[in-house]
Symmetry: C2
Subunit: 356 residues, 2 copies
């Protein structure tokens, strides 16, 4: 059964009324606050003054309200929804692995779906919790509109984001990696090897994680007194094809780079291929650094130097945060970033003497 | 709510009785058949005589029974469980992608879990449907005991297997690929290139798919009049490490093979690495064929010749079969094998003249 937290919005599919429970309007009137504030308390948000929170929580308890303020947000179904932007990368399976492991330990099932935006079948992702009677959503590398967020909030669905494309509101719980530090470390490694013409291939330019990595790259160059050449920064999708196409462009430049920092391991594999077709050896003629540290990295020829993202741990933390929200315990800070770490393998070396 | 199809076994966790419904024993007595036969009809099994099935189905309808014979097995929750042996391979995500796509189109959620065998938390996989109130299970590359199967049957849970390790009963619906034909095609390709010393690295020796591929390999050699050298057939896990370790052993033989047919693309990547460390070039000194055709194959250096398994389609067919079972429509044949296909890329070539 889906428990409602307000009465005015239209019913999401599958929702049922809990007839004997007071509306948010009643609670709000008794507490002398707005309905929005009651809703914030119910959803475990952190932007409510402590005194107000306590007053609202006491009323919710009095009315035996099932939200987190009431006592615990009931784990109604023992299910959560994991909604992914795509399943076309081993990246996604690493996140899934962490979410599944944490949820299995806590006796919670994970319903896995892809983001779909249209309103017909298959249903839009924000309708899935109502459809599956699940208690919350982990949304991975996706864009969220204010409307979607409001819809989830009305339905009393808890939400955690992993690597969000955008952050519509600063108080939503989200989990990521230290992308800026990763971009910095990768670039500093190449600078220390003696490279000066260092290119970067980012993911899509509108993604937060891309922006943070590019900023880390720029800062490393600036700290080393190397001027940032805008022509050496390219954007593309995170897949093999993106890395291949962008590397072909970079290697065709009159003054080609001697090193490439790719935004994902799959892009780095595309860069390997482009180098091979151009008759260049990795790392003798071209150094390549990836991002992610997928299990396959150490099996590439040569094994790939890359920035490790703790993907499985990110999945675990996202699941733990969501389950804590459902227990009425909001996270200490809404945004958590887990540490990235450079893994040096065999795809990076000093530039050839003629290039220096 | 979990609907029960019999009353005698102990309750699975989360199960609730549907009190007004007759027991299987009553139906069986009225139909003049055994309880086991009623259970078979309920579970959509094919090994019941048509006249008997019709008689039982009519009684089930009379009693408003919710099984597939009754009219439709109610899609109680709109959820199915997808249980995987592991999430440590991109292989699994391809199956998941197909299951998710098919289920999304049919408005069904997919709860993803790993096989766990212990009875404590996390719960054993065969308890998941009761826990999640799901209608059925797709079990991937796993072993199933008769006890587990009986437990699912008692709980009225429909079941489809993908690439089962063993087949405990021939009437369970299962989906696989034409592994034998794939083993044959891979080996014939190497023979046509002129190879005679062809090694094979299988997956675990007790898996059905391994046995079928090894048999295809043997048949190809025998048809070409090449004696099968048992020392050239090795078994290992399907991961990089397995391919690496077995290739090291094979390349250390006094009369080493000139070609290796690996049981998975990940094994083939391990073989690449072992060849590189031995100072051998692929394909000039060693030809390598993989199995699966993961998206990464065409991005390896050199791009990998492999046997394509239609993994996403296998996931789709498994989901479709399960949803049909839930609608009371058993599959025409319990076992379906989708076609494999050889994809020739750049990792295979004639053996070096000195080796011929």
């Amino acid at each position: 059964m889906t428990v409602r937290t307000t009465e005015d919005p239209p019913d999401p599919p599958g929702a049922q009324h809990a007839p004997s429970r007071p509306t948010l309007a009643v609670i709000a009137a008794e507490a002398g606050v707005s309905q929005a504030t009651v809703s914030k308390v119910l959803n475990g948000r952190t932007d409510v003054a402590a005194a107000t929170r306590e007053r609202v929580e006491a009323l919710l308890r009095d009315h035996n309200y099932p939200g987190p303020g009431g006592s615990r947000r009931a784990r109604r179904s023992g299910l959560i929804d994991l909604v992914l932007a795509g399943l076309d990368s081993p990246w996604a399976v690493e996140i899934l692995r962490g979410v599944e492991a944490e949820c299995a330990e806590q006796g919670t099932g994970v319903v896995v779906s892809l983001v779909r935006e249209d309103d017909a079948r298959p249903p839009s992702w924000q309708n899935l919790p109502a459809l599956h009677h699940s208690d919350g959503v982990i949304l991975v590398t996706s864009r969220m509109t204010d409307r979607q967020r409001a819809q989830l909030e009305r339905a009393g669905v808890a939400l955690v984001l992993v690597d969000p494309v955008n952050l519509p509101d600063s108080d939503i719980a989200s989990v990521g990696a230290t992308n800026w530090a990763g971009g910095l470390a990768a670039t500093e490694h190449l600078i220390e090897l003696g490279h000066r013409r260092i290119a970067m291939i980012g993911g899509p330019g509108d993604m937060l994680c891309t922006q943070a990595r590019v900023d880390g790259y720029r800062t490393a160059l600036e700290r080393a007194g190397i001027e940032v050449d805008r022509g050496l920064v390219r954007y593309g999708d995170f897949h093999h094809e993106g890395g291949f196409a962008r590397t072909r462009e970079l290697l065709a430049l009159p003054d080609r780079p001697t090193a490439i920092f790719a935004g994902s391991d799959q892009q780095a594999m595309g860069a390997y291929q482009a180098a091979r077709l151009a008759g260049l050896r990795v790392p003798e003629d071209l150094s390549v650094v990836g991002f992610d540290d997928l299990p396959t990295c150490e099996w590439l020829s040569p094994p790939l130097t890359t920035v490790r993202q703790p993907l499985e741990e990110m999945g675990r933390v996202a699941a733990r945060t969501l389950l804590q929200l459902l227990d009425g315990r909001p996270p200490l800070t809404p945004r958590v970033e887990l540490a990235t770490e450079l893994r040096v393998r065999a795809s990076t070396a000093p530039p050839a003497p003629s290039e220096q």
